[in-house]
């Protein structure tokens, strides 16, 4: 078993209203960042998993996303793996 560092980006699907992003954008624009067009705020989840191979680590991470980490009604995700 090797140890793998899995980096997962979870963010709202296009078209889903991001109230946190809107609030952050307003704060930044009010602070003078007038060239800001839009902000979206998601989650960055890092996992460390033991697995026999990179493929196993990826498949395990995808299952965790589908089971628990991501609400696929409104969110989508990207996975990147380092060994």
């Amino acid at each position: 078993m090797d140890s793998f560092h899995v980096k997962i980006l979870v963010y709202l699907k296009d078209g889903v209203l991001d109230t946190q992003g809107k609030a952050v954008a307003k704060s930044l624009i009010d602070s003078g960042y007038s060239d800001l067009v839009n902000v979206r705020v998601g989650k960055y989840i890092q996992l460390w998993v033991n697995a026999a191979s990179r493929e196993d680590a990826l498949s395990e991470a995808e299952k965790m996303c589908d089971d628990l980490l991501v609400n696929q009604l409104i969110e989508q995700y990207e996975i990147e793996i380092e060994s």
Copy 2:
């Protein structure tokens, strides 16, 4: 002015207790993912900014992180820019 898509990863510094990560790890392990070693949960902030150059967009994003987006006492960040 061009439009740039800035991707920012914000996460707790090593050594700072990540209670959200611990809770997620416990849920995953309780769900049967016994090969999971550790979880850390951070933020994934996407910005769209208008700037004269990639360098200007980066410098603007760094200022936003230092001013508002990142608590540098406990968090660190990485920035990636796409045009």
